[in-house]
């Protein structure tokens, strides 16, 4: 498991490349960017969940001092105002109709932010209210009002040809099936069945959405944005404004957190349209309160049943997942597909039938949220694993180990076999919890896991410039969103080129400069961009060797390669020396490049399985129902950690975000209105929620397709937390809660309603039947 460190730079916890900038306040985020002649935009938002717009009168707003112009849906005839990478259903401003409370209806563009804000109240909008559909059940009812009711065309993504269109409220339907599910359930020894609910979540990236757009007189559109996927944004902007790709430049500086919520296109087309309207650079800075009204996670109702045979082997799973997708598709079609794939978990199932529907409602649009559907479905899956274990009288970890797929085994017909040691990961987490000794009263423990088909579609291009002075520039279109990708990519370049890390710099996401990278998400950057940077370096080295053949008049087969150089006889030539001698010129550079696509080692998808393994020990206050974390253990099965400290930090961050979902976070609608869309009312984890004991474990078996056997991480540790908490609560009290978050009120009520006695009478749950802890507990 441990790696004898054969590496000079990678697999070392070197300090972050963005360290000094971020601790001195000099790191530039999009919100810090100001351009010459820049105007400000502010948005008027819909007060209704579903209404026709009869008229908009902006004449008084236009007369306000400092107001330059007002943009509304009726101004958008000259451009293609509907965008969306999956399906183009999203108008950049409401056109004729609003579909959720908070939808942008008009934009005031003014000399100052305050001036734009103050003019908003001078706009008069006349609406005619329509019946809204606010929850999944009423939306699916026969004769339900249609959220869209018109046809749209597909966006940049292939693979959504089965998009059912706007004639129904079903945005996307995914069916996964193998084996004979009905026969398997009929013959099963034991079955558990239940309905689970995972709430709407706001990711709360601390930097709210922001963009600065400049549509200049030359027809060049430049957009600075807090976007995770600059190239996907470029594609959408090119389509909205009918521009060639070379006329759209998207630049992403440092990003203040995303967690999926900044993936794909958000406010960039609207900001660009404001600039197009007034022929000046325009900045649109949303507040956090507005970010609440921009993107949330899909909440999920999961009806699921799972069966075992008389040997305790899993034989069948059936699930119906309803995702509440809100008013626009955004990335929910992909969330839908991923939730359907991931609900199988890292287990062997001979018979599976999954139906997942993403459903339009008149609520804030849902899209990617860290884990992309996995958090929503791991809660029911892993809750039910414990329920089944208890039902058949088996210890939950033993039950999991009996059914987990081992490395190299397939869990999904046609997909890449499991490339991780999940049973080993589970044992490791279990060991850490057992070290706590006997389980005290009101304490509960659980270890849960998830398997995500991660990495998204592998199209990743990169280049490195090797300069004749020995320094190297890495050109990468991956966004530095906090995950530390810049540091990791620089480490890989230093390792490959045989130079100290200080000699590497990274040129970050700028679509005019860096090569195409499909996205920054799905934990793909280390695996794909890391591999691309490694291959680009190796290609540059191959060029250097060819140059050396000419310079030395000798074939490369006679060269001995050393770190950063070749030796031929007595002569040693470093890469920069070769470049300078070849060109007879100081200050010269060469380019090495790599084009990764779905071929060769990246042919099989997913690119890797991201495994989440988390263990918790909780403490319950029975008087109040409040759950606190005693112990948290994460296991990052990452192949090789390019920077172990940063990898651990990602795991803890994801687990902490999961703790928020598990214990506090939920967006609550009352009718049409989002009731808690401010940080005063939306509780996220704080310092005081730190567990007493935290163990961050890394498993490094070098079993990934990334550089040196690396795989991605950073999402997995979020997924199992909800089930961990619910299972630990059950162990502590015998109460089973199938709805997150486990707020004190919800837990307290469950304790009042519980019928079963405390699990002294239950088969031994997590903690192990042969440990002193378990015996004491029993």
């Amino acid at each position: 498991m441990s790696t004898a460190n054969e590496f000079a730079v990678v697999n070392h916890s070197v300090p972050r490349a963005d360290g000094v900038a971020k601790v001195t306040g000099s790191a530039v985020y999009t919100s810090d960017i100001t351009l010459e002649r820049m105007a400000w935009a502010k948005l008027l938002r819909s007060p209704f969940a579903h209404a026709k717009i009869l008229s908009i009168d902006a004449s008084e707003a236009r007369r306000q001092p400092g107001v330059i112009d007002v943009l509304m849906g009726s101004d958008l005839g000259a451009i293609h105002p509907y965008y969306g990478h999956a399906v183009k259903d999203h108008p950049l401003l409401a056109i004729g109709k609003v579909r959720y409370v908070g939808e942008p209806v008009a934009a005031v563009i003014a000399e100052s932010e305050l001036g734009a804000q103050e003019a908003l109240e001078k706009i008069r909008v006349e609406y005619e209210e329509l019946t809204p559909v606010l929850d999944v059940d009423s939306t699916l009812a026969p004769n339900a009002t249609l959220v869209h009711g018109m046809d749209y065309i597909g966006g940049a993504f292939r693979g959504f040809d089965d998009f059912p269109g706007g004639k129904k409220n079903v945005c996307q339907a995914v069916h996964v099936e193998w084996g004979d599910v009905d026969a398997a359930f009929a013959a099963a020894a034991h079955v558990v069945e239940g309905e689970f609910y995972f709430p709407m979540i706001y990711a709360y990236a601390m930097e709210p959405y922001v963009a600065v757009a400049d549509y200049d007189a030359r027809g060049q559109l430049t957009v600075h944005s807090s976007a995770q996927h600059p190239f996907m944004v470029r594609h959408d902007l090119a389509e909205v404004f009918d521009l060639p790709l070379n006329s759209v430049r998207v630049i992403v500086p440092f990003v203040g957190g995303g967690y999926g919520s900044k993936s794909y296109t958000k406010i960039e087309p609207l900001t660009a349209a404001c600039s197009w309207k007034v022929s000046r650079p325009v900045k649109l800075q949303l507040s956090v309160d507005e970010a609440f009204l921009t993107t949330r996670s899909d909440d999920a109702c999961v009806r699921i049943r799972t069966a075992v045979d008389s040997d305790g082997k899993l034989v069948a799973k059936q699930a119906l997942i309803h995702l509440n997708t809100g008013a626009y598709a955004e990335n929910s079609p992909m969330v839908c597909r991923k939730a359907a794939n991931r609900i199988v978990g890292p287990y062997r199932f001979p018979n599976v039938r999954i139906d997942c529907l993403a459903i339009y409602t008149n609520t804030v649009p849902a899209s990617s949220y860290r884990g992309l559907g996995a958090a929503q479905i791991t809660f029911p899956v892993e809750s039910q694993m414990d329920e089944l274990a208890h039902k058949i009288g088996c210890e939950p970890q033993e039950f999991r180990l009996r059914n987990l797929a081992h490395s190299g085994e397939s869990i999904h017909p046609g997909l890449r076999p499991i490339d991780a040691d999940v049973p080993g990961d589970i044992r490791l987490a279990d060991e850490v919890l057992r070290a706590n000794g006997a389980l005290a009263p009101k304490h509960g423990r659980s270890v849960c896991c998830s398997a995500s088909d991660a990495g998204a579609h592998p199209v990743t291009l990169a280049m490195v410039q090797v300069h004749s002075d020995g320094s190297v520039s890495v050109m990468s279109g991956s966004t530095e969103i906090g995950q530390g990708s810049h540091t990791v990519l620089m480490q890989i370049a230093a390792e490959e080129m045989g130079i100290p890390l200080e000699k590497v710099r990274l040129v970050g996401s700028d679509t005019a400069v860096t090569l195409f990278e499909r996205s920054t998400g799905a934990s793909r950057t280390t695996t794909l961009m890391g591999r691309a940077v490694m291959e680009a370096c190796r290609e540059a080295i191959a060029q250097c060797k060819a140059m050396a053949e000419e310079l030395l008049g000798a074939p490369a087969s006679e060269f001995v390669e050393e770190r950063g150089a070749i030796r031929h006889g007595k002569e040693r030539l470093s890469w920069p020396e070769i470049i300078e001698r070849y060109f007879q010129m100081e200050g010269c550079s060469i380019i090495g490049r790599a084009y990764l696509r779905r071929a060769g080692p990246l042919k099989s998808v997913p690119i890797f399985w991201e495994i989440g393994v988390v263990g918790v020990e909780i403490v319950l206050d029975e008087e109040t129902g409040k759950i606190s974390l005693d112990t948290l253990v994460t296991v990052g099965d990452v192949g090789l950690a390019i920077n172990p400290a940063m990898t651990e930090s990602q795991d803890l961050g994801a687990a902490t975000m999961g703790l928020g979902v598990g214990l506090f976070e939920e967006l609550i609608y009352d009718g049409q209105q989002l009731m808690n869309g401010t940080m005063l009312e939306y509780r996220v984890p704080r310092f005081s929620d730190l567990a007493r004991r935290i163990e961050l474990k890394l498993v490094q078996n070098r079993d990934g397709v990334g550089p040196y056997g690396a795989k991605g991480g950073g999402e997995g540790s979020l997924n199992p937390i909800g089930a961990c908490l619910a299972n630990a609560l059950y162990q502590a009290t015998g109460a089973r809660v199938r709805r997150l978050p486990l707020t004190p009120e919800r837990v307290w009520k469950a304790l009042q309603e519980r019928r079963t006695p405390a699990p002294a009478a239950q088969p031994q749950p997590s903690g192990g039947s042969n440990t002193p802890a378990a015996k004491t507990r029993a």
């Binding site: 916890s13 300090p15 972050r16 963005d18 360290g19 000094v20 900038a21 971020k22 601790v23 001195t24 306040g25 000099s26 790191a27 530039v28 985020y29 919100s31 810090d32 990711a203 709360y204 990236a205 601390m206 930097e207 709210p208 440092f254 990003v255 203040g256 957190g257 995303g258 967690y259 507040s287 956090v288 309160d289 969103i481 906090g482 995950q483 530390g484 400290a645 940063m646 930090s649 990602q650 803890l652 961050g653 687990a655 902490t656 975000m657 401010t678 940080m679 005063l680 996220v684 984890p685 704080r686 310092f687 005081s688 929620d689 730190l690 567990a691 007493r692 004991r693 935290i694 163990e695």
Partner: protein
Amino acid sequence: MGAQFGRLIYNGQRVKITFELNGKAAALEIEPRETLAEVLRARCGLTGVKLSCESQVCGSCTVLVEGLPVSSCTYLAYEVRDKRVTTIEGLADAKGRLHPLQQAFIDQFAFQCGFCTPGMILAGKALLDENARASEEEIIAYMSGNLCRCTGYLAILRAIQQAGAELRGEPATSGDGAKP
């Protein structure tokens, strides 16, 4: 009525204030309604002041006034007249050497996206200036007004402990592993 009321509270008048900003005298003409964060970011170019929740919940806009942490998003600039204001840009010493807390945040990997970091470091500084011997419990209690969405807080706790030890003149503690 509304407009009249608006004129009552603000008639476009600007107010001249003087204060000390990161060790240097500063004089500005402000509108009485402007927040300290707006003035520092837009007028003084101190974009290390980060705005997030704008409701005194998250702590990302924390700056020090007379050495004490305030949420500059809801603190009127007018209130700093004749007072000492410290932002993240004023923490390194005259030679550009990082403050022990800044160095500790780098050493302990106590940030990812970095958006909460300036406020986090300034809140930590106020704590350590008041009590360089703050216990783990005291640090957790004091820092609970500053949110971080990336790290899960452990590394930040470690960083404040490391800086505390350095300010007390003790050898640095190891930053890896579990909370004791």
